[in-house]
C-alpha cells in the first residue's frame, strides 16, 4: 500500500501511531514492509492456503465473533444433502464436469431454497439444468444476480452444530489448513503464521476491528475471486464487516477504475451492476427481470433501475408498449472479455479498436498477444497524451525486431488522437472508496487535444448524421438515442454536468431525483446509473462539495459524494448488534435511536432509516420489506453475509487452495493441482509453462513501483519520475543470484514459454528463498512499467506472461508464473525466437508462433 498508494497509506501510519498493529503479508519486502510491525514473506499464489489457515484457526479455536456470526451471516443455514466437498472428491466440489471443465452448482444449494447463480461465465449451465431452473434463475454476470433468490428460507440450526450447517461445512472444508500445512504451502514459519492469526483474532470483536487491504495481488490469479471470498469469510467470522476500522478494502490503481465499473465500460454490465441481457434467457424485459431480479432485498427494484436507465437512453422512444426499448440492447452469448476480444482481433473476426487512456501493448499480460491483435486490425484509434507503445507497435514493437512482423506488412490504419488531461476538462472520478469527486476545468486543452466527452459525443453525432433517415431496424437504437447535450466553447464541448444530471436521473416533472428509492418501474423516471442517483440531488452537483475536512467530523460526509446515497461505509447496520446498540462505545458508528425511532450515527445508515431492529417480515413480503431488522446486508436477497456461497461462483462455493497454473510445486493440500474451472486460451502465441518444470524453475511476480504508473504512459515520459526508477530491473535474492551467477547491476535474461526479456539485476536481501515442502522456491520480482518509448526504457515484463483466467471474472493470472533466469542479455532479432523455442522444446511445450 505504501508502494502504490502512498497517500492513502498515511492513514495506516496514523493508525500505527495510535497503536494499531500493521502486518504486511507479501512475497516481496516492499516499502510497506519497511514500516510494518511485521512482514510475512510467503509464496505468491498461496494466499488461499494462508487465508484458509486463518479461517481454520478461527473455527478450530472458536474464535469467531459468535453473536455477529449468528445475527448477520448464513452460518446457521443448512447446505443441501447433495453437496460434496473437496474433501470428498479429491480436490473438486460436486457438480464438476471433467469434460467441459465447468461446474454445475445445483448440488451446492441450501437445503430447501434455490439461489440464483451469478457472477461468472455465461453459458455456464448445462442445458437441461438451465431449463430445469429457468423458473427460478438466470445466469448473469456482475454483482446483481448474486442476490436473485427464491423466497423460501433455508433450514437453519442456530446452535451451529448440525453437520450440514454452513459453520460445520466450513470447518470441515478447512480442516486440513493447519498451521503446519500453511507453513509448508506458503513458505512461512508456523510461528509467523500464528503471530498473524493471534494478532487478527485478538484485534477483532466488540471493542476492536481488523481491516484487510488488498490490490491486484489478490485478483490477478486463476482463483482470484476466491481469494477475495476467503478474506470475506474470515472478516465475516470475525465480525469485521460494516464496522469502522473493518472491512476488506480494495486499493484500485486508476483514478476512476471504480467509476468505470459502476458506469461500466465492461462488456457484461450495464450501469449500476445491472447485468447485460443474455440471448439465451432474456427474450424480453419481463423474462430478464423474472430471471434476474431478486424478489427480496433492494435488488427487488431492479425493474425500476433498469427501466429508468432505458428511459435515460432512449427517452420518449422507450415506452411501456415496446418494453421500454429493452430490445434495443444487444445480447451476450458468451465471454467477450478483453482477452477474448484480442483473440478475435488476431483471428480477424473484429476489425476496429478504440484504445483510450490505456497501453495494452505494455500493460496487459502476454504483450505479444496484444500486439498481434493490434497488427491484425483494420483500424485502431489511440487516444492518449504521450506517444505510447500501443500507438507505435507497427514501427518499433518487439515483433518488428524479431522479424515476426514487418512494418510494410501491417495493414492497421492508426489514428492517434491527442486527449485532454485531467486539468483540461470537468468531470467526476470515483475513487477506491466509492467517492465521487468533481474536477473543475482549469485550462483549455491544447491543439487537437479534446476530452473523451467531446470525442465520443461528436463521433456519435457524426454517425447519427450519416445514418439519419435510415430505415434499417438496426439503426433505430442509434437514431432514437437521447444524444443532445448542450455544448459550449469554441470546440463545442458537451457540458459534463448535463451528463452527470442524466446519470442522476429525473422524475416525471423533470426534477432531479434525490434518491434511487424514487425510481419507478412505470417509465415515469429516468436515470443513467441508479447507484449514482443523488449525486445531482436538488440540482446541485454533490460531487463538487468541498467542505474542508478540518471543518467536519472524521467521516467527512460533506466532501464529495459516495454511492449509494452518500453512505461511506457499506452495510453499516452491522456496526450495531441485533438490538441496534453499538457493539461497543469505542466502535459506535450507526445505531438505532429508540426515542426518535430512527437509525442514526456518524454515517448515513445503510439501512432503511425507520425500520426497527425488531422488525420481522410478514409472510409473503417482497423487496426490502422481506428483510428483517437484523438483516444488515440489504443488497443480499436474504440480507445475510454468505460464509458459504451456494451460487454465483463458477469455481466452488468455498475458496480452495489451488496452485497457480504455472507453479514450481505440487498442490500439497489437494489432489487437484490448479483451478479445475479456469479458462485457457490455447494458441501458439499463448503457450504455458508446465508446472514443476525444471526448464522454468523459478516463480516470478509482476508489480508496480511508487515512482511509476501502470504501463508508464503517465510516468516514463516525465523526467522527474523517470530519473527515480530509470531502468527495468528484476529483483532476486542473493541465494538465487549465487545459484545462477547473476551479478548485481548486470544483465539477466528471463525466459518463459512466451518469450524472453532482459532486465538489470538487483540483488537484494528483500527477496528471500522459501522452503515449500521439500523444495526451495526462488521468487523473482519484476516491476512491469517499461517499454520502448519514453525517457526511461526497458523490456515489458508483461511479455513474459501467458494468459490464463479466473472463470468468474475473466481476469488473467499475472501475479504469479514461472520462468528461467540466466545471466547476460537476451538474443536479438530472429535468434530470440529460436532461443525461446529451444526452451519450449526442452520443456516439452508445443511450438510457438504468431497465428
Amino acid at each position: 500500500m505504501a508502494e502504490a498508494h502512498p497517500v492513502g497509506f498515511q492513514w495506516v501510519m496514523e493508525a500505527k501511531a495510535r497503536g494499531a498493529t500493521v502486518i504486511h503479508v507479501d512475497p516481496r519486502f516492499t516499502r510497506t514492509s519497511a514500516v510494518a510491525d511485521l512482514h510475512v514473506p510467503f509464496r505468491a499464489g498461496a494466499d488461499i492456503a494462508f487465508l484458509g489457515g486463518l479461517i481454520h484457526h478461527v473455527l478450530e479455536n472458536e474464535l469467531d465473533f459468535r453473536e455477529y456470526v449468528t445475527t448477520f451471516t448464513n452460518a446457521a443455514s443448512l447446505v443441501g444433502e447433495d453437496f460434496l466437498d473437496t474433501e470428498d472428491l479429491a480436490g473438486v466440489f460436486s457438480g464438476y464436469n471433467h469434460e467441459t471443465g465447468r461446474y454445475d452448482p445445483i448440488s451446492w444449494q441450501m437445503d430447501g431454497a434455490y439461489a440464483a447463480p451469478a457472477a461468472g461465465q455465461r453459458d455456464h449451465w448445462e442445458s437441461e439444468l438451465r431449463e430445469e431452473r429457468a423458473r427460478f434463475t438466470s445466469d448473469t454476470a456482475g454483482g446483481a444476480g448474486d442476490q436473485a433468490y427464491a423466497p423460501a428460507d433455508p433450514e437453519r440450526d442456530d446452535t451451529l452444530q448440525h453437520p450440514r450447517c454452513v459453520y460445520q461445512v466450513l470447518k470441515r472444508h478447512y480442516a486440513r489448513y493447519t498451521p503446519e500445512a500453511v507453513s509448508q504451502v506458503c513458505g512461512m514459519s508456523v510461528e509467523q503464521f500464528l503471530t498473524v492469526a493471534d494478532a487478527i483474532t485478538k484485534n477483532s470483536g466488540r471493542e476492536r476491528t481488523t481491516a484487510w487491504v488488498y490490490s491486484v495481488g489478490w485478483t490477478h490469479h486463476s482463483v482470484g475471486v476466491q481469494y477475495i471470498r476467503a478474506a470475506a469469510i474470515l472478516q465475516t467470522l470475525l465480525g469485521n464487516m460494516g464496522r469502522p476500522g473493518g472491512g476488506i478494502l480494495a486499493l484500485r490503481g486508476h483514478a476512476s477504475i471504480q467509476g468505470s465499473t459502476d458506469v461500466p465500460t465492461l462488456y457484461d454490465l450495464l450501469p449500476g451492476y445491472i447485468p447485460m441481457p443474455n440471448a439465451h434467457l432474456h427474450s424480453d424485459l419481463q423474462s430478464f427481470l423474472d430471471a434476474d431480479a431478486a424478489k427480496t432485498g433492494f435488488w427487488g427494484h431492479m425493474d425500476a433501475y433498469l427501466i429508468s436507465l432505458l428511459k435515460a437512453w432512449w427517452g420518449d422512444a422507450a415506452t411501456a408498449d415496446n418494453d421500454f426499448a429493452f430490445d434495443y440492447l444487444p445480447r451476450l452469448t458468451g465471454n467477450h472479455g478483453t482477452y477474448g476480444i484480442v483473440r478475435d482481433q488476431i483471428d480477424r473476426k473484429t476489425f476496429g479498436y478504440f484504445v483510450v487512456g490505456e497501453n495494452p501493448a505494455i500493460g496487459h499480460a502476454n504483450g505479444k498477444m496484444q500486439r498481434l491483435g493490434l497488427a491484425n486490425l483494420e483500424w485502431l484509434v489511440v487516444r492518449d497524451m504521450q506517444m505510447i507503445e500501443t500507438a507505435t507497435f507497427w514501427r518499433d514493437g518487439p515483433e518488428i525486431e524479431t522479424g515476426e512482423l514487418r512494418t510494410e506488412d501491417i495493414g492497421t490504419e492508426v489514428f492517434y488522437l491527442p486527449c485532454a488531461n485531467h486539468t483540461e476538462k470537468s468531470g467526476t472520478f470515483t475513487n477506491t472508496q466509492r467517492l465521487l469527486q468533481w474536477r473543475r476545468e482549469a485550462v483549455h486543452p491544447p491543439g487537437d487535444a479534446r476530452s473523451e466527452l467531446h470525442f465520443y459525443y461528436h463521433l456519435g453525432r457524426k454517425i447519427r448524421e450519416k445514418l439519419a433517415g435510415s430505415t434499417d431496424e438496426r439503426d433505430r437504437p442509434l437514431l432514437d438515442l437521447t444524444w443532445d447535450y448542450p455544448t459550449f466553447g469554441v470546440h463545442s464541448e458537451p457540458d459534463p454536468e448535463s451528463v452527470l444530471a442524466e446519470i442522476n436521473g429525473f422524475d416525471a416533472d423533470g426534477n432531479h431525483l434525490s434518491s434511487y428509492t424514487q425510481m419507478k418501474a412505470d417509465g415515469s423516471t429516468s436515470g443513467g446509473c441508479w447507484i449514482y442517483t443523488g449525486v445531482y440531488r436538488d440540482g446541485v452537483n454533490q460531487a463538487d462539495r468541498r467542505k474542508p475536512g478540518s471543518e467536519q467530523d472524521w467521516v467527512a460526509s460533506e466532501w464529495g459524494w459516495a454511492w449509494p446515497a452518500n453512505r461511506r461505509t457499506l452495510y453499516n447496520r452491522a456496526s450495531a448488534d441485533a438490538d441496534g446498540r453499538p457493539w461497543s462505545e469505542r466502535k459506535a458508528y450507526v445505531w438505532w435511536d429508540e426515542e426518535a425511532g430512527r437509525w442514526t450515527g456518524h454515517d448515513i445508515p445503510d439501512f432503511e432509516a425507520g425500520k426497527p431492529p425488531s422488525y420481522r417480515p410478514p409472510e409473503g413480503a417482497t423487496h426490502e420489506d422481506a428483510l428483517s431488522g437484523t438483516d444488515a446486508f440489504i443488497m443480499q436477497a436474504d440480507g445475510k453475509a454468505w460464509l458459504y456461497a451456494p451460487t454465483g461462483l463458477a469455481d466452488g462455493p468455498m475458496p480452495t487452495h489451488y496452485e497457480p497454473v504455472e507453479s514450481p510445486v505440487a498442490n500439497m493440500l489437494h489432489a487437484e493441482q490448479d483451478n479445475p474451472a479456469r479458462e485457457d486460451i490455447v494458441r501458439a502465441w499463448n503457450r504455458l509453462n508446465p508446472s514443476m518444470s525444471d526448464t522454468y524453475p523459478y516463480v516470478f511476480l509482476t508489480y508496480r513501483l511508487t515512482e511509476h504508473h501502470t504501463a508508464g504512459g503517465m510516468s516514463r515520459f516525465l523526467p522527474y519520475l523517470a530519473e527515480l526508477q530509470p531502468e527495468f530491473f528484476c529483483e532476486v535474492s542473493p541465494a538465487l543470484a549465487q545459484e545462477r551467477n547473476l551479478e548485481h547491476l548486470g544483465w539477466a535474461t528471463l525466459i518463459s514459454a512466451r518469450t524472453a526479456i532482459e532486465a538489470r539485476v538487483v540483488v537484494t536481501e528483500r527477496m528471500k528463498p522459501l522452503r515449500i515442502g521439500d523444495n526451495v522456491v526462488h521468487q523473482i520480482g519484476l516491476p512491469y512499467h517499461w517499454g520502448s518509448n519514453g525517457l526511461s526504457r526497458g523490456d515489458p515484463a508483461n511479455d513474459l506472461l501467458g494468459v490464463v483466467m479466473d472463470p468468474n471474472v475473466h481476469i488473467q493470472e499475472s501475479k504469479v508464473a514461472t520462468c528461467d533466469i540466466q545471466p547476460g542479455r537476451r538474443p536479438r532479432g530472429p535468434a530470440l525466437l529460436e532461443f525461446v523455442e529451444s526452451y519450449r522444446r526442452k520443456a516439452g511445450v508445443e511450438p510457438g508462433g504468431i497465428t
Binding site: A255, S256, T265, T333, F351, R440, A449, L500, D544
Partner: protein
C-alpha cells in the same frame, strides 16, 4: 539612481553601517531576493481538482495564470489526502505541461512506414465511416439457434479507468446504441 541610493544598495556599505557587519544576512540580501514571492501568489485562479493517477483520489489545487498551469499541488481541504501527494501526484505539473506531449492528430495509413498529419475533423469523420462499416460487417441479428442478438462484433473498445464517469457513460451509451458489446477497460485487467 542617485549616488546615495547606489551607495545604500551596496552591501558593503550596509555591512559597515548596519547590524550585519559580517555580511551574512540582511546586509547582503539582493533587491531581487527581497522582491521574491511565490509564483502561486499571482495566479488568476485556483481550480479544485483530483489527482489523475491512482484511485486514492487526492485533492489537487491547480494554479492558473494567463491560461497556463503554473503549479499543481495538494489540496489541504481534502479529507482524503490532507494536501499530500505521492511522487506521481507531485509530478502533475510536469504531466500537464510535458514538452513531449503530443497535441496534434497523427495518422498512419495501412502499410505505412511513417506518421502523417491529419486534420482533427477529418480524422473523426474517417473514424465515423469506419465505425459504420465495421458495425455493418460485424453485425449479428441472431445466433445459430435463431435467438435475437442485435449486436455487432465489428469493433471494440478498451479503456476508461482513467476517464471520467461522464465519459464512460457516453461510451457505454453510444456503444450500446450501436449494438457494440465489446467494451472493456482496465477494471478487467
Amino acid at each position: 539612481m542617485g549616488a546615495r541610493t547606489w551607495l545604500g544598495e551596496w552591501p558593503m556599505f550596509r555591512q559597515a553601517t548596519g547590524p550585519d557587519p559580517l555580511g551574512r544576512g540582511a546586509a547582503v540580501q539582493s533587491p531581487r531576493t527581497k522582491a521574491l514571492e511565490a509564483r502561486t501568489r499571482d495566479a488568476d485562479e485556483v481550480v479544485k481538482s483530483v489527482c489523475p493517477y491512482c484511485a486514492v483520489g487526492c485533492g489537487q489545487n491547480i494554479y492558473v495564470r494567463d491560461g497556463r498551469i503554473t503549479q499543481v499541488e495538494g489540496d489541504p481541504d481534502s479529507p482524503v489526502s490532507r494536501g499530500r501527494l505521492c511522487p506521481k501526484g507531485s509530478a502533475s505539473t510536469s504531466l500537464v505541461t510535458s514538452p513531449t506531449r503530443v497535441t496534434t492528430v497523427r495518422y498512419r495509413r495501412p502499410y505505412g512506414t511513417e506518421w502523417e498529419d491529419l486534420d482533427l475533423d477529418t480524422a473523426v469523420d474517417m473514424i465515423a465511416d469506419r465505425v459504420i462499416d465495421a458495425r455493418r460487417r460485424g453485425w449479428q441479428d441472431t445466433d445459430d439457434e435463431g435467438r435475437v442478438l442485435r449486436r455487432t462484433l465489428g469493433f471494440s473498445s478498451l479503456g476508461g479507468a482513467t476517464l471520467d464517469n461522464e465519459e464512460n457513460y457516453l461510451i457505454k451509451k453510444l456503444f450500446m446504441a450501436l449494438g457494440a458489446i465489446q467494451v472493456e477497460n482496465q477494471a478487467r485487467i
